[in-house]
Amino acid sequence: MSFFIKKMSRRAIVQALIALPALSLFRKLPDADASHADPSRADPSHTGASRADPNEIVEVNGWILRRSDLA
């Protein structure tokens, strides 16, 4: 791995970085399940992403988000 890193050019690093947001691995945000959200911020009647209001504001791992951000 270290050999690989040393051999990477600055240009390659930048290109990899630009591509990162396209990879689902790095786009994956915390689970949209309301049970992970701050109960004081989320509507407890909404227990699944499919039934939740996408405009609802939830707090997940410190992030203040719209539920649609979690999709």
Binding site: I13, I18, L20, F26, I57, E59, G62, W63, I64
Partner: protein, 479 residues
């Protein structure tokens, strides 16, 4: 006239009507106002023209409660006072800061903001400020607020020549009052300490205490103790209701548009709550300082990535020989609730070189303040979402209710309260004109008279109050 010792001053046979203790922003401003009104005034400055360890040592003290700075580094004891190290950030307290708040006991001033607004043009001249601008609401809850980064006027540098040439202002360096004497109606004299030794007694018709937000209380507590209540006859609140502006890094923000807010020359913008939001959430005032990291292109990408994938971003940042932070940073400074238990006491064991007890500062933040910090960041985050301006992440220690970190900014070095203004003599020390309750000739200048702290840096309001007190005294003092 400026004298380097009390002996030199005495040889000049100057007869003052008013004695001001301290040559910081409050003391110098009041002296200039009185001098302009033709009233002879002497300013006793404890230090010399420059910093010295010997003078600074008088400020040593201890703190009980929450972590706080060493008391001898948080202010300066030489000509110009703490203007010698202030950052120059300027804003006047909000209108709402002067109003009582039903959800917080002991709030509300006996004056309104409109009482100091007539002095703001004068304050701008003194502090070299551009025009004050109104707040701009960005939602029903949050407003953009102007916080001026001024040139940080050093009062001794700016006004030294003027004071030296003034015929009716005498500044006496290396000379301080160690205690005032009083009979419960008037200050009858003062004990002086000059150039490292007792310099005898001194008298004037009026005394104005402008020695800073900690020392004002210390001097009055010690004087009152020595004169059996003859200096502050109603002393229940003396030293109490002391306040700071706790300041911590509260989180980060990813902005959808880095041009959405007006930022200053160093890419910072400031935000505060509306009164309606404070009332709805039952919180105090606060100021969010948004520090943009306007990285271009790839750097911006890494900075934003640092919020969601910090390890990966750190590695990338290292490979690019950059040290990029997670998007914009959010620092929060907030208003403390005025509490009688946050107070300045006299040490029972430690005295300064002149024999006066040092300060024992009792300071503790409350649950209300943690809630103000948390709800404030939530308000800001919600506003960014509603206006499609970005997203906020609250720092883990705040969300999780953990202790305040000790490696953060901690507070603003703003010392307020201790001799607060009010009409209730059991909860205040001075009246609306900054005159000590029950005393005919004793006044207090500076932020120790603040009833509440608001969220902004205090020097602008200190200077406005000093202009107002100077005007008042120029009508009261007869020559």
């Amino acid at each position: 006239m400026i004298f380097d010792s009390y002996e030199a001053y005495r040889a000049a046979n100057f007869t003052p009507k008013v004695c001001i203790l301290g040559s910081g922003p409050a003391g110098t401003t009041i002296a200039r106002k009185l001098g302009a009104a033709g009233i002879p005034v002497v300013v006793l400055e404890a230090g010399s023209r420059e910093f010295s360890d010997e003078s600074q040592d008088f400020y040593r003290g201890t703190t009980v409660g929450d972590f706080y700075f060493d008391l001898d580094i948080t202010r300066l004891r030489f000509m110009g006072g703490s203007s010698n190290h202030w950052a120059g950030w300027c804003r006047v307290l909000d209108k709402q800061d002067f109003e009582p708040k039903a959800w917080v006991p002991d709030t509300g001033w006996p004056i309104r903001r409109t009482d100091i607004e007539p002095y703001l043009p004068e304050v701008r001249d003194i502090l070299d400020l551009p025009a004050f601008r109104p707040d701009m609401p960005i939602s029903d809850d949050i407003r953009w607020v102007q916080l001026i980064k001024s040139p940080a006027v050093r009062f001794a540098e700016k006004f030294g020549d003027e004071l030296d040439k003034a015929k009716n202002i005498a500044v006496v360096l290396n000379t301080c009052v160690t205690e005032l004497a009083g009979d419960g109606k008037r200050v009858t004299g003062a004990r002086l300490w000059s150039n490292g030794q007792d310099a005898g007694s001194f008298s004037a018709d009026y005394f104005i205490i402008c020695t800073g937000g900690l020392e004002n209380s210390r001097l009055l507590l010690w004087s009152n103790q020595r004169s059996n209540g003859g200096v502050v006859p109603n002393a229940t609140a003396l030293g109490r209701y002391w306040m700071e502006h706790p300041t911590f890094e509260g989180g980060n923000a990813i902005l959808a548009d880095y041009n959405a807010f007006e930022v200053d020359a160093v890419n910072e913008a400031f935000f505060s709550p509306t009164l309606a939001a404070m009332e709805r959430l039952q919180i105090m005032n606060f100021g969010i300082r948004l520090i943009e990291t306007p990285y271009p292109g790839v750097k911006s990408l890494i900075a934003d990535l640092a919020c969601t994938a910090p390890s990966m971003a750190e590695w990338m940042s290292y490979q690019l020989s950059q040290r990029l932070r997670c998007a914009a940073q959010l620092y929060v400074a907030w208003e403390q609730a005025p509490l009688a238990s946050n107070q300045i006491e006299l040490s029972k064991t430690d005295v300064d070189h002149a024999g006066a007890p040092r300060i024992e500062l009792h300071w503790k933040k409350t649950e209300l303040e943690h809630r103000t910090l948390l709800e404030g960041l939530r308000l800001f985050g919600t506003t960014l979402i509603e206006k499609n301006l970005g997203r906020v992440r609250i720092a883990d220690w705040i969300s999780n209710g953990q202790d305040y970190p000790t490696n953060d900014e901690t507070a603003g070095h703003h010392h307020m309260g201790g001799t607060r203004m009010g009409t209730d003599i059991s909860k205040s020390v001075v009246d609306a004109n900054c005159k000590v309750h029950g005393m005919d000739n004793l006044y207090v200048g500076g932020s120790s008279v603040f009833c509440t702290s608001g969220q902004c840096n205090p020097t602008t309001t200190i200077t406005a109050l000093a202009c107002r007190l100077g005007d008042h005294l120029s009508k009261v003092v007869t020559v």
